[in-house]
Symmetry: C3
Subunit: 185 residues, 3 copies
Amino acid sequence: MLTDVFVHEKAICESRSVGPGTRVWAFAHVMEDARVGRGCNVGEGCFIEAGAVIGDHCTIKNGVKVWNGVTLEDHVFLGPDAVLTNDFLPRSRRQREPRPTRLATGASVGANATIVCGVTVGRWAMVGAGAVVTRDVPDHALVYGNPARQHGWVCACAEPMEPGRRCPCGRLYELRQGEAAEAGE
Amino acid sequence: MLTDVFVHEKAICESRSVGPGTRVWAFAHVMEDARVGRGCNVGEGCFIEAGAVIGDHCTIKNGVKVWNGVTLEDHVFLGPDAVLTNDFLPRSRRQREPRPTRLATGASVGANATIVCGVTVGRWAMVGAGAVVTRDVPDHALVYGNPARQHGWVCACAEPMEPGRRCPCGRLYELRQGEAAEAGE
Amino acid sequence: MLTDVFVHEKAICESRSVGPGTRVWAFAHVMEDARVGRGCNVGEGCFIEAGAVIGDHCTIKNGVKVWNGVTLEDHVFLGPDAVLTNDFLPRSRRQREPRPTRLATGASVGANATIVCGVTVGRWAMVGAGAVVTRDVPDHALVYGNPARQHGWVCACAEPMEPGRRCPCGRLYELRQGEAAEAGE
């Protein structure tokens, strides 16, 4: 039995690995052998496939499908109708090993963005609405467009920031090998 | 009780503010405190959130989600899987005031287009399929691409037109401050 | 009665023209007068409209809507949330003759791609994830971007190939009038 999990009466939740405080809304489907952490929100019409791994405190807005081969770490945000994949060169009725995709802690993916499989979206990175991500996104990068290009940096608080200049929220970042990291960490 | 509203037996309609002649199709969900006018079509799998406001005679094709903060005036067309938003810089498990979006009378949004929150799509404007709209769209403008740019003008009848030249449908437009308006109105 | 068709208990299948071995998953809806061939997979949340024609052995991933006016030949792959259309210049509450779209045998459409109505996607062509297809796609062409442009060729086996050089899978193609065709066929 799942403890302290809300499952809407029109949802299907077959997994026994869903953490406390998580809510699964109408017309969503969490398959057996999908893993969902605690305190997550699985929006209406979502599909969490067997083999998908979702961390704690993630927000998965309406209509998102999380496939086998996709890993969400903690505090990940997937906007409405964001699209993930697990087969790089698909053909009908051909089953292949999924190509893995990783969304690191705190990453946000905008509405209707597409994440081509095989990439890593870095910690607290932000993918703009409608973007098509075809390569790795550095930690704290802001990317958008088709194909997605980097246009700046964002703080964990979500506001744009510049490494070396303190964000009004108090955090300070520095550049390390092409990624932004909190200074002193 | 709703009067003269069709709700498919597999839909959820919790709102008491839905106008006569409106139809809500299977796997759609209209939340309590969502307002939907008369003569609308809410397609299969749509989600109308509490706080959303939809005028009369709108067509909302399958899979569209209309969020709190979004206003559709009358005769708006939202193509299949068109995507709206209400949080400009989202993070997981953070609730913010929605940034409002307005779709003016007669506007059409193509299939799978993305409307970034905060914009107004003008009267009888047309957003092409797959476009990503990041700024206001003038009345009667035709926009497409990612990001969406203006590529011409469209008549209320939907055909491309040029201000100053009468559309075969009989309407004549003139330019006023960067927007097209019917001459003499 | 349908013979040897799996229909999930939360799906709606009203068509009597669905071939053996086809599966229809939860929250999907196949309308009466939609035609679906044998050995197809109609994913969760899909919608197959009356008038749509789907061949044999097609894979239609979750969330795809196939409209009246759309024809899928055999072995077609539609990735998750791929979007089709049938009205080029839509307005609310206006019904028009659908503009036909054809997906030829073996074509693959990537996740969240948009196919503007009126085009033909050629045999074994591949449309990249998030692409917006606005014109015909040659047989075996690889296209992506918004608008979609050709960036190479793909083999029936799905791997990139060059006409005149044998694919590791054994197939050899030659160019004929701007399309790739198997040599000797």
